[in-house]
């Protein structure tokens, strides 16, 4: 009984240890408080900030931009990926382009997007959507290409037409890899949105808040914003894992 309670508490051990070490380091004066505030004060700033302080407004802006970028990427990327995947010749002809731009750090394209969209809110969403889109396309296309051949054969032998095979088999087969793509895409969208908020003259957002606090050496606010960004990324990941488990319920069975 005791050991079971103990195993449940295991995931908390790491974060607690981190906070203890952090606290000791600050107390012992190894790092100046002007560079690293004590953990309790940081958490306090985080909590009060998210409970209606200015941090909350920036947090929500970042969430909104990330989700907008993600929604655009998913709404265009999944159909395009599935369509490309169902014609292997079509996919092979654009494979290099997708792989090339997928390998190009999206942040390197920020100046290009600045030229096109200017210093606007649209810009941040557009570039994040672009980076996320490539990931979605790639994963959905491969999902269709690598669909289990036997299920396709089973549909064919039952007399399914090409379209029926697509609708009843290929689409479903591609869902699991598509979800992997969506999950990576939302992380990518968050990364690019934060970077864009830092460097494309932004007035709002977590990225803007992090760099602003750093400029005025408000380290408590900076660390709280970093933690908030981390919590957001983690929450999005967990949310997508849960959604995947519900929707692609047969995955891994």
């Amino acid at each position: 009984m005791n050991s079971r309670h103990f195993s449940r508490a295991l995931p908390v051990v790491g974060p607690l240890a981190l906070f203890v070490v952090w606290d000791l380091v600050v107390r012992a004066g190894f790092i100046k408080p002007i560079l690293l505030p004590p953990p309790i004060a940081t958490l306090e700033t985080l909590v009060t900030g998210l409970l209606g302080g200015p941090l909350l407004a920036d947090f929500l802006v970042t969430v909104k931009r990330t989700l907008e970028a993600f929604a655009i990427a998913a709404a265009i990327g999944m159909p395009v990926g599935i369509a490309l995947g169902s014609s292997e010749r079509a996919y092979r002809s654009v494979e290099f382009l997708i792989d090339f731009f997928r390998s190009t750090p999206s942040s390197a394209l920020i100046p290009l997007f600045l030229l096109i969209f200017g210093v606007s809110d649209v810009n941040k969403v557009a570039i994040a959507a672009f980076g996320a889109f490539l990931i979605v396309v790639f994963n959905s296309a491969y999902g269709v290409i690598n669909a289990r051949k036997q299920r396709v054969m089973a549909a064919k032998v039952m007399g399914a037409s090409r379209w029926q095979t697509f609708r009843d088999v290929l689409f479903w087969e591609s869902l699991q890899p598509s979800f992997v793509g969506l999950r990576s895409a939302v992380s990518m969208a968050l990364v690019i949105v934060i970077v864009a908020e830092m460097f494309i003259g932004s007035e709002t957002g977590l990225g803007h808040r992090i760099i602003d606090s750093q400029q005025v050496l408000n380290v408590k606010s900076m660390y709280a914003s970093i933690l908030a960004a981390g919590a957001l990324g983690y929450a999005l990941n967990v949310l997508f894992l849960l959604a995947e488990k519900r929707i692609v319920h047969w995955s891994g069975r």
């Binding site: 299920r151 054969m153 029926q164």
Partner: protein, 275 residues
Amino acid sequence: MNAVLNAPVEPYADVPKPEFNPGPPGTEITIRGLTKYFAGWPLYENFDLDIPKHRIVSVFGPNGCGKSTLINMIAGLIPVDSGEILFDGKSLKDTKIGYVFQNYREAMFPWMRTIDNIAYPLRLERKPKAEVDRRMQELVASFDVKFDLNRYPYELSGGQQQTASIMRALANHPEVLFLDEPFSALDFEMTLFIREKLQEVFMKTGTTMLLVSHDLEEAVYLADQVLLLTKRPTKIAEILEYNEARPRTVETLSDAGFVATKKRSLEIFQREVRR
């Protein structure tokens, strides 16, 4: 000059098309001149075969002789290089067939409930719901299903999944049922159960069945005809008739006729393997 260039292109015009000889009356599947090469080597070359209607034919032969390839070509899952395959004079696309795969895990659709998997061939034919429901009840009764068909396939045991995939294959009253080693991924108990169910269905409906098996006892037990194949390039080694009355039971397995047919099949098989 122009006239010659524009003449209809007819390659091999001087090779006469072989005449099509239909099989004897009561033939379900007629195979003529079937040719299939794999990596430049002939697997089947000018292969002819008649498969009788309303009978169970077991296909047995050495490893790599293409037993599964043969039924996959007949079922249209693997393209043939040349040759003709007719179902009672019709082409495949005018014929309803059922197919049971060895690997039931990758044959069922895990995103559909088991009952919807079984009804899928009827949905493809856009049958009205009442008719689908009636057929489902029939199938459930004849397979004596005791498990919950509203579960997803992956929630069922292997034997239950294979039972469901046989029900799916039979749902739209196919003319021919193909079975590609349907028992080899199952435990003994389930094999016995499904074997009996197949025999019952056959006695009730007389659906022509083509069974690939690697278990000689099972092949002979279910068969009216045992089709023995040679090593590649594959030919017919022999076709053995086995006319024991149905239902066959456990006693049949020690019956003189059964033992003799099994022994004869084994002799031919060994002769072909050593050749």
